[in-house]
Symmetry: C2
Subunit: 333 residues, 2 copies
């Protein structure tokens, strides 16, 4: 686990798009961020209090999180000045960058001298077991998508937030870099060795209270040929009690695969549910989450009503209209 709260390092990010991780932390775990720190020329601004490293420490920050994508794939000398000073002041560092903190000798040396940790969340830090398929106590919900990047993480996050607000027991379980940095822990599933994928998800979602829900972050899609194996490992390792079907209706082809059209929500249901029932015969499709960001509000509401009626399931855009109908569905299971 990464120690919270964080100070969010925005570096010299050219724009807000480069600050996706920091935005996710601000939106979903505001209590995890005491403030932000930028370098001159930074084009991103989260609207949090701008702090020096010393001010961040005074505000209680334990970890400096690199909340931005870096330019050119290297950790620049300008960044390193700040990162090394942070280690000397007692911060741990956490990063989801492809170029790893642990591969930078000066950062490794400064961390060792100061007894601090370097968290590279792209790399598993645990020797995961092979999945044993044994039924676990507690309940689990998994978002599955017609494609990659259709809103599976936001769906699980939004549902967890509404469930917690209602007094239900729920824990978001991160399976990707962004989710891990937002919450401080999880499994970087795309970097796990093939034989241990399902086992890593069993490890992530252990026995729990009978009325506790693990809200597992989905990855990939059964219909995305590049990553479908990762998705099936999630389905079988997570042994979900409930599936949420996720879809982005305006997309013209599968992400990164111009020759592949998206499946229908019905096709997703008919593929995912029998596979999920291999691990958990009681699994149900509980609802539908639609990413309506490219639709007007009128279009979005019309589409949701049509889909809900057609499939006999609650449907919402949880980011735009709230997750209530999906949480109602879980509460009834």
């Amino acid at each position: 686990m990464i120690e919270t709260p964080y100070l969010l390092f925005l570096g010299d990010a050219p724009d807000m798009l480069a600050a996706k991780v920091a935005i996710g932390i601000r939106d979903w775990r505001p209590e995890n961020a005491v403030g932000q720190i930028s370098l001159p020329g930074c084009g991103a601004n989260l609207g949090l209090t701008e702090m020096s490293l010393a001010e961040g420490r005074e505000a209680g920050a334990r970890t400096l999180v690199i909340g931005v994508a870096n330019r050119g794939g290297i950790i620049s000398a300008k960044w390193k000045e700040v990162l090394i000073e942070a280690l000397e002041m007692g911060y741990d560092l956490a990063s989801g960058l492809h170029n790893l903190l642990r591969n930078e000798p000066d950062l490794v040396a400064a961390a060792a001298q100061n007894g601090r940790a370097l968290h590279d969340v792209r790399i598993p830090s645990v020797q995961y077991p092979i999945a044993n398929g044994e039924k676990r106590t507690g309940k689990r919900c998994l978002a599955v998508g017609t494609d990659c990047s259709v809103g599976k993480m936001y769906t699980a996050m939004a549902m967890e937030r509404d469930m917690t607000a209602r007094g239900m027991k729920a824990t978001f379980r991160a399976t990707g870099q962004t989710g891990i940095l937002i919450t401080g822990g999880g499994v970087p599933l795309d970097a796990v060795i093939a034989d241990f994928m399902a086992g890593s998800i069993e490890y992530l979602t252990p026995d729990n209270d009978p009325d506790h829900w693990d809200m597992i972050e989905g990855q990939g899609s059964l219909f995305h040929v590049s990553y479908s194996g990762v998705t099936l490992a999630l389905i079988h390792g997570g042994q979900p009690d409930a599936l949420i079907l996720c879809h982005e209706p305006t997309r013209s082809h599968m992400r990164g695969l111009p020759g592949y059209t998206l499946p229908s929500l019905e096709a997703l249901r008919d593929m995912a549910l029998p596979l999920a029932q291999v691990a958990n015969p009681a699994c149900r499709v509980a609802g539908i989450s639609i990413n309506t960001q490219h639709m007007s509000e009128e279009e979005a509401r019309g589409y949701l009503a049509e889909v809900s009626q057609r499939m006999g399931l609650p449907a919402t855009d949880p980011y735009r209209f709230g997750a209530d109908v999906l949480v109602d569905a879980l509460a009834g299971l």
Copy 2:
């Protein structure tokens, strides 16, 4: 690729069961083995010519293959005497052992001094791409199973042998340690990083002649929750034109999963074919391969006739009765 032919090192294997890899090489690629070499007390005997290292070199051997599982998970001092002498005599070494040759400093030093290669086939030696899903030329056949270890490798091997004997163009494509050592190359899929699984299979089965068949070694099962993600990556990376359904009818539960019963062949067909058609809409189920090792000949023939009639597909035990009916089915596609 591992240089052939081989001299097969049997070490001090306690019995034939420990010599699975060597047996596979003898049975499926006899032209790859010039002979065998044993230590005193060896309980395995392949019936090949017993040779010294020098005799093996004179017979043309390029690589000493460790064809046995070792005792206690370590490469013993007795083994190392032979392995180091082999490196000094110009052999490469190849091994599928969990304890890696490359982690033994004395072997690494001897290999470096003599300019020889150490092949640890459990570990990928290639940086595989992410799958792009593009349609490739040539044809591909994949064996999928109701469970792990039901005969998928032997099915693909037997079909390749019969196809080659008929003058058809066919190449067995290994995806596991044993298959890689038998044929000299392949992808150790269970050790590949999740994001690159499907891409590794695209890499393994590239564009080919329109009438060439890649006979891809299957792994795991869509119904085996520990490894199903690996299986789906094979299905989507391999984009097969033909599936062969594999089954072992006497098994009481899924291998290693006491709580899980085996699916029917019909359930396997209905799960695997729609998934395969995501990557290749023209994919067909071409036939059925039954592992009848625990049935009498009469039982086996009766079972095959019943299954073939019930499912409307050719069915055989290719190891016991030959692969002809399966090859006929591919020849008609």
